[in-house]
Symmetry: C2
Subunit: 302 residues, 2 copies
Amino acid sequence: MREDFINLLIQKVNETFGIMKPYMPAEEGLQRRVTESMNYSFISGGKRIRPLFMLESYRLFGGDDLSKISPFMAAIEMIHTYSLIHDDLPAMDNDDYRRGRPTNHKMFDEATAILAGDGLLNLAFETISKAMNEEDDIIVLRRMVYANSVLANKAGIYGMIGGQMVDLMMENKTDTELDTLLFIHKHKTAALIEAALMIGAIMAGADDEEIEKIEKVGDNTGLAFQIRDDILDIIGDSIKLGKSVGSDEKNDKATYVKIKGLEESQKDLESLSKEARDIVIGIAGKETFLSDLIEYLVNREK
Amino acid sequence: MREDFINLLIQKVNETFGIMKPYMPAEEGLQRRVTESMNYSFISGGKRIRPLFMLESYRLFGGDDLSKISPFMAAIEMIHTYSLIHDDLPAMDNDDYRRGRPTNHKMFDEATAILAGDGLLNLAFETISKAMNEEDDIIVLRRMVYANSVLANKAGIYGMIGGQMVDLMMENKTDTELDTLLFIHKHKTAALIEAALMIGAIMAGADDEEIEKIEKVGDNTGLAFQIRDDILDIIGDSIKLGKSVGSDEKNDKATYVKIKGLEESQKDLESLSKEARDIVIGIAGKETFLSDLIEYLVNREK
């Protein structure tokens, strides 16, 4: 990872948020409580990894018209945000805090949080559909239609929601097999990262082979990210991480590290992220912010 | 309403279900619990009013290629179904039964019901996006893109979800004003009926003026449908209706009838539905199944 990465990251995260912000709903009308609730969770987001990955992939493949990628950046962050709101609900993970702030249902109430999640998921596709409806260029429209189908697929029951279902079914089970754990990580986490990178490539006009390569980058990065999460849960510093260390162990949840051991897990993480970085560097012809970002994410300390 | 309407209705409801069924997900894979839960609620649906309205509107405007309208029929029913699953949750209306069967969260569990709702909403847009991605004809694709944007808008925070938010905020309030109640009915109920009729017209190639007319039909029908609901709640036969008569009164909820009185409500219902039927008959040049269906819905006894 090159020097000044963190400064560049902060700059890019701010840029990403600025690009997405205009797509958030006004807090007006009789129904404004639901838009307040949606904005509350959207605004308190973190590193905006998915839209940032999307933007960097778009640039990697030569995309240079921000207005074409921005609706998708907003949409994928809306989908990520809704998934967090619903995951935090009492019937799901029952979390009171996220990133140091009350979770949506604690700040508002459960009914509002359910609707805010629904509202964000719907708004994601509404945002893209509006942009498609306003697009005159048929070549760009075809790319948007393809990108939209990738997003819908990776976010749904064959992607993120599917992973979330299996994750829920494995709660408090200690005998989860590695295949099942890989299914969860691949679907719950990697799917949206794959979608982000693929959509960037698609909108920049990448060909099928390139799209497949960048999907692989997303798959590897998503899995490596989760392995790092599991490692941090064992060795991490509780203050840095912002949650109780060993919380997965406490509820008897199977993790990658518990199944494969710390050393083997670290090895897997390194080989996954090296492969991902090599693909990106191969496409770019040199190290780029995107390859640095992958390295940063899989080595992060919180 | 003409003779044999009920037989025709039953035939059409079955036809509609047959058209939509292939779009439902297979119950397979590690995540099959979520698809089982989605299918459970989708299959136990009622009169399939929204996709039926869509199909009849499509035919009214000369549409004759079922394969072009069918993904939208499935999508709107998925959206209606997800909204019922989430509405029934303990944090929302807390209903144990729907149409005489356990609600989704009673049959499965709350977490699964939340995910099944999310899954259906996502699958609605996934279904349309897949069909758009496979469409070669650019004129048809443009119609699909437009229809998709109408659906996303009418289902979201400016439509159904917005209405649901305001409805929740008015629970146990007796001083709700008529404007607020009209907002709820227009958004929570009428919006999806408008979308159904508009999408049928759009996919059949109707012009802007025709689309606006049929939107008005949906608006009137949706509101008349809700007024009928409120009337039935006061005068209805509890067995026919399948729920406790006066249940809205019991929880002190404002209703159209309580604000305007029974006689005035019945008058409004009749004038709304007459106007809607007249528009349909004007377009068709004669009474049609669609005009009969409107009459049936606003005079139903359960």
